[in-house]
């Protein structure tokens, strides 16, 4: 295994992307690679013929340093790939590698030979960390989060046929998406590999190229979806709902009322009204699991709102959220379950389509929404698991705030999602044993997420499905010692480090 003193000479070829770089940046990138122990004969500066004039000086400097300059044309790249003896191609994009980057990569690939592609963390020029998420296929469609250093096994690149002509200016994203499609393992190396030159403007037309690559990939996978630009380098993928599956919205309630925005309201009635009258998806049934003491007037109002789309189920035992939700799931007829608390208000009418479209993607197990407190600060943007306990990402952040890798504007994989609003297939719910009765009030959703992820499926958060969640109005926030000890007895070792929401 390589060590930091032995950066695996000859095993790597570094391809530095010259697109959109200022005149002095290619030289700095080359110097950084050479300083990391890579021989000049193993370094390539990739420039575009169309930019030959502006690239003249960097190309000349590169040649002076003994570095070959190659054309970004896919044919030239594939030709170079065919002729290389290197084990790995390391793509360097808008950044400078750190001195031990190649040694870290060599050690990681040696330890896990099954990996096909590896990316890592970086810092800004001022040293602020840019921590990247663990491999996230859904997120990759919306945002090329891979950062300035992406290492790919040369034989894996050859296996997928090298570089695709239509992927000009977005070859790395295209390669990683295609590797993901064939089931190759792509992995985050949680170590600083580079200093990133952050470009917020799209000088090289990369954003359009990325959208084209994503659209091509979706077609190749047979996925019906529309790709919309959110901002440069950031896209929303609207997955079309396949078919018209029945969604069972399971709501537990005891018919409580509360003052919201200065107005008294019966929470479950407003939630039901939102589902039936305030949502654009129509094929829903409402499964309300109501405590015996729920006021009859509340039940009558629910019947008036939902009509024959309402299934009422009695809960006449001591409080147990898990038990109530399991009972609702047992009574549900839908192909999908939408687990919903009664103290919510829907903001985006197409929330069900948004969540359902994601839930229908391969490998996705459960989908969560963005939830706001009454004062519009964030209550839920995915869960974070660390040190054997769980919390919420971006908890209490004001609306509009985001992290430096735009996590709150892109669908992305998370450690878990809250069951206050979560959508999943009913057969998966049954497969994993639903909610555990061992968690009557807290952490039942954490346990459910972990059970789903243990099957190899993912939890995905969508910022495009938005609701208010008036949680403090109804919930007793006390966490019992037994909640934590039971959770940790099942999952403690797998809840030690948070690698999805690292910047929130």
């Amino acid at each position: 295994m390589s060590t930091p003193d032995d950066p695996g000479r000859g095993r790597f070829e570094a391809w530095i992307d010259g697109a959109g770089l200022a005149p002095d940046e290619p030289r700095r990138a080359i110097d950084a690679v050479l300083a990391a122990g890579v021989a000049p004969s193993q370094v390539r500066l990739v420039v575009r013929a169309a930019e030959a004039e502006s690239a003249e000086q960097p190309a000349s400097e590169a040649r002076g340093a003994g570095v070959e300059v190659i054309d970004a044309d896919p044919v030239s790249l594939s030709e170079r790939l065919a002729n290389t003896d290197a084990e790995f191609i390391v793509f360097v994009r808008a950044g400078r590698v750190l001195p031990d980057a190649f040694a870290h990569l060599a050690a990681y690939f040696d330890r896990y030979p099954r990996l096909s592609a590896v990316y890592g963390d970086s810092t800004t020029e001022t040293g602020a960390p840019l921590l990247r998420p663990m491999a996230s296929p859904v997120r990759l469609l919306g945002n090329d989060y891979l950062g300035p250093v992406v290492a790919v096994r040369a034989d894996a690149l050859r296996r997928i046929g090298g570089f695709r002509p239509d992927a000009r200016r977005s070859q790395v994203l295209d390669v990683v998406l295609r590797l993901d499609r064939i089931g190759a393992e792509i992995s985050l190396l949680p170590a600083m590999l580079a200093i990133e030159d952050l470009h917020h403007d799209d000088f090289a037309g990369t954003s359009d190229a990325q959208r084209g690559v994503v659209e091509h990939e979706l077609r190749e996978r047979g996925i019906e979806a529309r790709v919309e630009d959110v901002e440069p380098f950031l896209r929303r993928v609207r997955f079309e709902v396949v078919g018209d599956p029945l969604v069972s919205v399971v709501i537990p309630t005891r018919g409580s009322a509360a003052e919201i925005g200065g107005v008294d309201r019966v929470l479950v009635v407003e939630a039901a009204r939102g589902v039936i009258e305030g949502s654009t998806y129509e094929n829903v049934e409402l499964v309300v699991v109501a405590d015996a003491e729920t006021p009859p007037t509340v039940i009558e109002e629910l019947e008036r709102i939902a009509g024959d789309r309402l299934r009422l189920v009695l809960w006449d035992a001591p409080f147990n959220f898990s038990g109530k939700m399991n009972r609702g799931a047992a009574a549900a007829r839908g192909e999908y379950l939408l687990l919903l608390n009664d103290d919510v208000e829907i903001v985006t009418p197409d929330w069900i389509e948004t969540m359902l479209g994601i839930a229908q993607q391969p490998g996705v197990g459960i989908v969560g929404a963005q939830l706001y407190f009454e004062d519009s600060t964030l209550q839920h943007s995915g869960q974070v698991y660390t040190g054997g306990v769980a919390g919420h990402a971006a908890f209490g952040w004001e609306g509009g705030r985001d992290d430096s890798i735009k996590s709150l504007n892109v669908d992305h994989e998370v450690s878990g999602v809250t069951a206050a609003c979560a959508l999943m297939r009913r057969d998966l719910f049954l497969e994993v044993g639903g909610f555990s009765l061992a968690f009557p009030g807290n952490y039942n959703d954490v346990d459910l997420n972990m059970k789903i992820r243990a099957t190899g499926r993912s939890a995905v958060f969508s910022p495009w499905a938005r609701l208010y969640h008036f949680e403090s109005k109804t919930r007793d926030p006390r966490i019992l010692d037994t909640d934590i000890s039971t959770l940790q007895s099942r999952w403690a070792r797998r809840m030690q480090v948070e690698l999805y929401s690292r910047m929130l």
Binding site: Y108, R111, Y112, L115, M134, A135, S187, L188, L189, P190, A191, G255, A257, V266, V269, A290, A292, E293, T294, P295, P296, T297, V298, I299, E301, L312, V313, L314, D316, N326, R327, A329, A330, A331, L430, V432, G433, G434, F435, S436, L437, A438, M450, K451, A454, S489, R490, W491, A492, R493, R494, Q496, V497, L499
Partner: protein, 94 residues
């Protein structure tokens, strides 16, 4: 909306309980969760690594960072006599 507590909304209403099939599903969920829960507890007790590559590296780095911290080093120093006494005791008493 006025609340009339103490009145059970379910009285006289048909179809608000589970059918036998639905009841069986509810019981199946409970049983299956117990089995999965026990399986996961066993997995937690196994010595084999249950983490993926990224998580393994992250945990190792966290551990290394903790062990190089001043707090850890000070703690090792403070507990040195106790640890030494334990070694001596083990060697003498077996």
């Amino acid at each position: 909306m006025s609340e009339v507590r103490g009145v059970n909304w379910s009285e006289g209403r048909p179809g608000i309980g589970l059918t036998p099939e639905e009841r069986a599903i509810e019981q199946h969920l409970e049983l299956l969760d117990r089995v999965i829960g026990l399986e996961q507890q066993v997995t937690e007790l196994k010595s084999a690594n249950v983490l993926g590559p990224s998580e393994t590296i992250a945990v190792e780095r966290n551990l290394a960072a903790m062990r190089s911290s001043m707090t850890w080093r000070a703690g090792r120093l403070v507990t040195l006599p106790i640890r030494a006494a334990k070694v001596v005791k083990r060697r003498i008493l077996g």
